[in-house]
Symmetry: C2
Subunit: 246 residues, 2 copies
Amino acid sequence: MPKIKLVISYDGTDFHGFARQPGLRTVQGVLEEHLAKIHNTPVEVFGSGRTDAGVHAVGQVVHFEREVGPPAERYVYLLRRSLPPDIVPVSAEEVAVDFHARFSVRRKTYRYTIQRANVPDIFTYRFTWHEPRPMDVELMRRAARDLVGEHDFTSFCASTTPIEDKRRTLYQVDVTERGSYLDITCSGNGFLQYMVRIIVGTLVDLGEGRLRHSIPEILSARDRAQAGRTAPARGLSLWKVDYEAE
Amino acid sequence: MPKIKLVISYDGTDFHGFARQPGLRTVQGVLEEHLAKIHNTPVEVFGSGRTDAGVHAVGQVVHFEREVGPPAERYVYLLRRSLPPDIVPVSAEEVAVDFHARFSVRRKTYRYTIQRANVPDIFTYRFTWHEPRPMDVELMRRAARDLVGEHDFTSFCASTTPIEDKRRTLYQVDVTERGSYLDITCSGNGFLQYMVRIIVGTLVDLGEGRLRHSIPEILSARDRAQAGRTAPARGLSLWKVDYEAE
């Protein structure tokens, strides 16, 4: 069966996360509903991974299979006409049958944005964490470097995470000032639950002088309690998903 | 009675406009509700003017009177803690008793933003009109200049506008490119209903080659039917309100 790869953006504010849940408005649920209308038959969507309630996406990737239907390049037009404005179809293409939105992922990139101005900007409040307290950005930048590489991220995920192997590789943790905003960009081969938000909360706690431990100490403790806050979902966006052989 | 001048920003998407309406969520209604809580007594708010449903504000100005209450500079903190995130208090100060948010206005500035990229940006869709068709921006810029000055704006307001005197003075109509966005900034001594949105719709229709008449012809016709579309509310923001003796 032909397989379609779809890149979508969404504003996560008014969704109960990506993953389908009965009776709740979710990204997967809304997308499946509109794809079912286009095909006149149920369509199951597979995402590159879940995003939590309130988390956004610039380049989330999903795939679905379909017996018959429009040419791949028509989906962007058809879905844009059909979907609510908080889900935007970005691109669509037919892919090989062995492509899988989740299992073929090579690298994921997230961006977290902190708004540091005293008065929150009305144009960005849905996509940023407003944290105007002074922070030592240089110190945060140095601490971020200690996260890069392969580590056991037990201290940087929800203490209830069921996955046993918590080793992941981070390729990049960049702290960048953009006017009164601070962007923290993380890319890696995989992320545990709340991992980016705990990384951001910990870097901010360090920058604000609220944490005594260094990143190497927190990593080696393998204890969630040693890391900092979980930063709020609103500032987080799944930025890009890269696949094998791209 | 002490009079407080308050500057607020809001995201108009989820409001039925500025003006209080029974049973509907409006900016004035929500603001009065939260000010009543702070003062333990009803507070009536006067705005610089209404904004229509879906229209935003960066610098809307309101005033209210109160017998007793916190020092003026405390309102920003108290309201920020209390208001929903789509209304942001920007500044507060005590003003002279003859100040009136509506009657003392000297100049108002609106900004309208058009998003021209093929794929709408998820971070700005609530605040922009997505219109990716090609337009002749230089032609729009020249046409905008013909609107500056004192004119009868009958052709550029809702045909149902009850106000008899439709002469207004525009000080500025600027068309500015900002990456894939186009900002149209209008400032003047007063605006009629839908005036900025009809100005924007007309400039876009001219830029897209859909209108034959020039701005001077449309102005002198004094006929709404001669102007272009009414641009959607979502792209419009009340940017700034200036007062006498500021």
